[in-house]
Every structure is written in structure tokens, then in C-alpha cells.
Point group: C2
Chain length 122, copies 2
DNA sequence: CGCTATTGACTACAGATGTAATCAATGCGA
DNA sequence: TCGCATTGATTACATCTGTAGTCAATAGCG
């Protein structure tokens, strides 16, 4: 439903998911901790996110307080689904097999996965 | 290293990963089985993939035989890694937890995952 | 041997994206 | 009250992407 969020826009979304609502300046501060962008750039991205209806803003005096309209979990879920279907034919185990073969799984990961599976089988 | 592959370009890559080498026409036939694109569009995408050095072409008479320069597995691995780090802070178990919570895991998936984990613990 | 069909190369063009500069309104301090 | 600083809105512009059309070379057919 909601329109596509670009890479740069996602960085701004992350800042808003960390805390909200925030002013444009607050968001920019957070973003600029990792990206070397100007304040204007962040504001432009905020506008585009507004246009895409994935964030909203409430007026607070002369500025706006921005907040996400979609939950990070929902975004993550849909992106994950898209990736699994695009790259793994919709199957999850090949994904995990893939990660396993790349040694991407730590001992902790393995333990946690076992827990998850245990829970699912009940 | 290799440049970013766009959505449309990826469709062409998939056709080349299915079989290679192939002429532009062969690739287009495969692509057009799922996408309503023109032959020219597929050729343009082939050129862009050439420019990005992710495919190569060997002359065969008056046409070219195209072939991928990167393995699908490598592409999938790097895309998966990017996603895991972008969306899950580099941890895999939250990813699986995510999928589990969305009921994306079939009984077969669960069984396969157990097998995979068994193999990893040895 | 000239014409046509094939095939790659070049050009086109609108919309998305990354990255900002500039404009305009307005509220606050001097 | 007036100018400056703050903040959102508008405009800019190069590149990438999606989606082709057109041109040019050439090889095979008649």
C-alpha cells in the first residue's frame, strides 16, 4: 500500500522510529550522527516522507513535530517478505541455509533459533 | 564492489542465471514470459548490466552471447547480508523471530531449520 | 549484387532519488 | 517596532531507473 521508501528516506524513518515525535532539527541531529548530510537535506526527506504518507506532522507553534505513520515492525515485515520471495522463492529455510553457509550465525544465534523453533513446535 | 543492480536489471540477471550464455533474444524471451517488456527494453538492461560489469558478452558471429559475471549465490549472499544488517542490526535470530511471528514458517521450514541447526552444532 | 531483416549502439524522456540552495513567513530580542 | 534568526516551502539539478524508439552495420536471400 504505502509507497516505496528510498534508502535515504529510510535513514530518516529510523531516526523517527528511535523517538517520536521530533522536530526537524531533532531528526536532523540524529541523522547527522551517522550521515554527513545538511539540515536541508533532512528536511527535504521529511517532506517526501510526508508526501508518501508514511509520516505525519503536528504543528507545535511555528514548527512541526514529526511522527511515523507506519510501525517499524510492519515495515520490516513487509521488506523481509519481499526479500524472501524475491531471492529465496518465498522459502525461509534456504535463507537460513544461506546465512549458515556464510558463517553468519553466531553460537548465540543458533541457541536463539533453537528456542524459537521449540516455541513453534508446541 | 560491483555496482547496484536495479529491480528491472535483476529480472534480466535472473534470466541469465537460469541459463547462460544466451543471446539477447533468448534472454528477452525468458524475461517476457513474466514481464510485458519490449525486446529493446531487455537489450537496454543488458547494456546497463554490461556497463556495471556484472555480465559479460562474447561475440558469436553478428550477435553476442551474454553471461553473468557474478554468481547468483554471491549476489544473494550480499543482499541478504545488507538486509540483515539494515533491518535487524546484523543479528539473524530476530529475522527468524520476525518470520515466525508472521506465520511465515511452514512445518517443513521448521523441520529443515532443525536439520540445519543440527548440522551447525556438530 | 542490392534489399531487407537482424542485432547491437545511441538517443529519448519522464519520474525517482540524492543532495542541497534559496525564498518566505514569522516570532523574538534589541 | 524593526531586523535577524528560525523554520517550513519551493526550486534546483545531476544521476539513476524504467521503458522504449531510432540509427547504423551487416549478413543472408532473391
Amino acid at each position: 500500500m504505502s509507497e516505496k521508501i528510498s534508502e535515504a528516506e529510510l535513514v530518516v524513518m529510523e531516526a523517527l522510529w528511535e523517538a517520536s515525535p521530533q522536530t526537524a532539527n531533532d531528526v536532523a541531529d540524529r541523522v547527522m550522527a551517522t550521515r554527513d548530510w545538511s539540515l536541508q537535506t533532512v528536511k527535504t526527506l521529511l517532506s517526501r516522507l510526508m508526501a508518501k504518507d508514511v509520516i505525519a506532522a503536528d504543528q507545535d507553534g511555528r514548527r512541526f513535530l514529526y511522527r511515523p505513520m507506519i510501525a517499524r515492525d510492519d515495515y520490516v515485515a513487509s521488506e523481509t517478505g519481499r526479500m524472501v520471495s524475491r531471492l529465496f522463492g518465498g522459502r525461509v529455510s534456504p535463507l537460513v541455509a544461506q546465512l549458515a553457509s556464510q558463517d553468519q550465525l553466531s553460537a548465540d544465534d543458533i541457541a536463539e533459533l533453537e528456542e524459537i523453533l521449540k516455541g513453534l513446535k508446541s
